[in-house]
Symmetry: D2
Subunit: 350 residues, 4 copies
């Protein structure tokens, strides 16, 4: 006899994009979840297996279909939690009524990641649609804010790039091992990060055999990266950050440089990481000289982190790899969901 | 009546690798070249079209085949110039007798790039095999050393990464627009850069859907990069440089950061580039905000350079893209060859 | 309180190749399996997470390492079942002592797939190493031989191509809906099918942006394909079959043509498939006009099958897609294992 | 002194798609061509180098820009020839006034490939827009209709798939070596074949790691394939033909099967090919057992053809590879242009 875990009735709002699809994949197999609503303006009325043929014949799929993203209809399903995989701006509009209806909201958009509405406006080019909620939103990076996620009503799940930049830096900034004014970062992302939208620059024939930087010099994700690094450093942090599109479907690799404080060496770095991530089930520390490879993390919620001291220049080189749609989006959101509902951090993710 | 250009009898030594193949491709169509010898230890005795089926039926191919890399046999063909596409260490051994036999040698290996034999030993882990030749070797980067190439007997053609790192930096270092102690660089290369050798980590199934850094923190190419940046800056330059393998066959993208000297802005940068590369037919300046894409340079000898000022941090972001096998290897070698033999810099390359 | 399924002590012999890796992945998460031995001549003595970094931090991985493929040492672990992911010829040599030691053997090589030792010799160019075992070996295609797998001591798991060719044809041949003398097949496979071995033609730079046929006209897998089609048709079947290498890591797509018997139309085809695969949890029938896409099956044990009547020529077009390493290898082997040990066909596979 | 070839003033109408881009690439370097007009509704008013950055700094590019596709404006440039790289239906509308203005028209669309307007309607779902021109249009496959191209006013350049299917079959059908009722064909194409249009199914993240058939069972190209095979066989030919999308940018591989007439063997096949393509500079015969690889033809106007006799079934296996945008589109059109204007078949193409 198997005793089933208590299940949380859950909705995925905006389930037809790439992050939505990964949410559905993870939640279908999550022993603590009952999927009660999938929404998609475009696919409303169609069955899940019809829209996403890869899910056909999975247990539980036949009963599932897409509905309109109507907040009261979502609430009427009895959903206790809703994941929002919507464009920024739109997400906040849906979050407000869902919160009012008593749901816990885990938002994968940028809408509630930035504490300061002025910074949001600077980076996203419009007024924040629900500034009154910013104070209570929790930045859903479990390895950093795990203690605050448990009681949250509104979780702002981090961006894909920020996760890969913040996690390698936080332990070093907290201990003052690096000079925060010297941080420079290069990230490379798979094309799924740009979303499932008809667009010539995202065509196979445009992205294959191609590498290019974009959003130079001020990618929107800088806003949340700097917010979190500033918090860790205890002083304002500004960094240079460039994103590149490379021909893989999934995966982000981030390489970061910073000058070490005098006297800091491999031992201090190893100690900082070991202590910071001792209890983090999804952070895999590859150690000094370890070079993460996206193919080892794609399809999982792991982030792999390696580092090296460049003795010739006094800098540290930080390397990280994650699946942009999982640890960088859907998986991380589920990880926060697990913490929020007391389900065990790794449930449905290993 | 068409008057043919005078042709130089030319050998390609080590013609069966990826750089060798590009040399053959370019030289077959070069109006100033008569290919008189192709060597390959492994393919000796076989026809060119048999070993490289893509060249079958090209004009002139049927008569060509591979011979052993025997210097006296090469000299006996009447070759006036030899391109060496051999591993480091081996190249010097072949260069010595070919130079002695009166040939001009254009070496694509690292053997003659480093002026200081001690630096060579530090980075390549063995004694330099022909240190007496280092003084006369010319670093074959035509945009920087064009004036010295014309009279050279021994041209050391630059590495693929160094070309993409040095060309964006030299104009800024020469004018003192950036602080040389703040340079950090990220490069991403296609897999052909690792050569045509049986190796599990280079298999399709290992490289596809994968990104990873390698040779961290001290890639061998740092030695020539720092030599050339030091020369341009007029003071010692040390930088942090990381190479990444990405799933494209050809192409290198390099992103470099450096702190601007106080008061330097877009105008000074644009002026520096315009002046430095006014006469450079293969440098395409994309201007401020321009983001090069490897797919626009692959198959050509162009390097595309863009830049952006990150006003928030006072840094400049430099972006460059080239074909690692052409501007990063075979094409650049032919460009030097053209200068050496007075054939017009772009002959056979446009 | 959760009552655990009874677990079978299991060994994977030859665990360091691509099929072995998928076996390890599936068995690590299989609730009815306790992995007691992983062997690899090359990796003996190393930890699983060290050799395959993608498995680091998975539950149960830390205790696992590779040992030499010594049959008595394998038997001494108490293993009740062994999966063999070894080259043909080698597999039989290991199977004999393991069977003698009382283990159930599930062999992923070709060694026990062919009932007739003469056919084996014709296609594999050497004498069969253990012909005395051929009579009792069961061809482990659960959708066809499910009833015989339950009692088998030696299961010969089918090849990747054969699975994709046989499953779409068997229902039509059994009912006599097509003319067996008219079958022609084109298969396209990802590069992982060629194995994890250092080889120039399998390099990324050789396979990317490339499509080519190979093993023309007599691929070894024809032997088992024809054996099974002959069995289904009740008369000798010979077909033309060509395999192509395409630049994907995983996945096989097979397109098959055959002339329909007079009077046969879409209705008869649909009925034949519905009846044949009503109880087959891993066969997804896309129906008339359905075009399977490998990306919907990669990472799963599903095979997707679609078909279309070409009324202009009287032929049927059969389309199938599977993951060559899962339904085409490791997943199918686990499916047979489940049937053999009465664990529920889909255990650990959905 | 170099005497220049007489140049033909030439227009490319619809120059911003993938075929248009290849036309521009080839014609820019064609010694017998002066490009006088490039049209694109979408890009009118912009410079060529701006729209297609890969052409920046090529000789002659700076002066070129896009104009509206207005036939009288095109004629006013003095153009003697126009290549049309437009969607079917649209091409005919532009061809009529250009022909009236005295230009030679080389149309890369399907509009003038089908001699029978009823067949056109059957396959293209609309009435033919200019049926009066069908009688004089020449199917621009130089290896088959070379003798008629020289005097043509309107050349209908073949489709990408048809070129790869027709050329391997015509020599065998003409000599009656195969049974025309038994032909079955599988083609695999790179994604550029679908054009440069915003479309979700053509996104990198949808095409990468994916293989799928499409337009089953009646691809539009069947109409021209069957027309030409019927002509070669001297009797009506119907075949089964399936197209597959694979993750390469460029390249088509086609595998065709047919039953050999009794007594036909390798010798007769070799002889048929040798005789048919003795004077064809772009057909490379790989011989019996030769397996073409798209990577050997991509970027060129070659088509590589191999074949094998499957003695077990009495069928022949035909294999061909071409660049879908060059021999399958732009290159073949230029080849016809060369024949039409007496410039030497290979001019600008080798």
């Amino acid at each position: 006899m198997v005793m089933r875990m208590k299940t949380i009735k859950t909705a995925v709002v905006g389930a037809s994009g790439y992050s939505g699809e990964q949410l559905v994949r993870l939640l279908l197999r999550h022993p603590g979840v009952e999927l009660v609503a999938l929404t998609s303006r475009q696919e409303a009325g169609r069955g899940l297996g019809e829209v996403m043929p890869r899910f056909r014949r999975w247990p539980g799929v036949e009963a599932l279909g897409f509905m309109e993203p109507d907040p009261s209809a979502i609430a009427a399903t009895g959903a206790e939690a809703a994941f929002l995989a919507l464009p920024h701006g739109v997400a906040a509009e849906v979050a407000v009524p869902l919160l009012a209806a008593g749901l816990v909201v885990i938002d994968l958009s940028a809408d509630f990641r930035i504490e300061d509405a002025a910074v949001y406006r600077e980076f996203y080019d419009h007024e924040h649609p629900a500034p009154e909620l910013l104070a209570e939103a929790v930045y859903g990076l479990p390895e950093v804010h795990g203690d605050r996620i448990g009681g949250a009503r509104l979780i702002a799940s981090p961006g894909c790039y920020p996760t890969s930049v913040i996690l390698p830096l936080v332990p070093l900034l907290r201990r003052g091992l690096i000079d925060p004014s010297t941080i420079t970062t290069c990230s490379m992302s798979g094309v799924s990060g740009a979303g499932r939208k008809a667009s010539v620059p995202l065509l196979f024939a445009e992205c294959n055999e191609s590498v290019r930087a974009y959003s130079v010099p001020k990618h929107r994700h800088l806003s949340e990266i700097e917010q979190e690094l500033t918090r860790a450093a205890g002083e304002p942090v500004r960094l240079t950050f460039t994103t590149h599109l490379i021909p893989v479907t999934a995966g982000i690799h981030t390489t970061t440089y910073a000058s070490l404080r005098p006297g800091v060496g491999e031992e201090e770095l190893a100690e900082a990481y070991a202590e910071a991530y001792a209890g983090a089930p999804f952070v895999r520390l590859l150690g000094a000289g370890g070079c993460p490879d996206t193919k080892n993390v794609v399809g999982t919620n792991f982030i792999d982190i390696g580092w090296a001291v460049d003795g010739r220049t006094g800098r540290v080189i930080l390397l990280s790899a994650e699946d942009n749609l999982i640890k960088g989006a859907a998986g991380q959101a589920v990880q926060s969901f697990n913490l929020r509902f007391g389900l065990g951090e790794t449930t449905g993710l290993l």
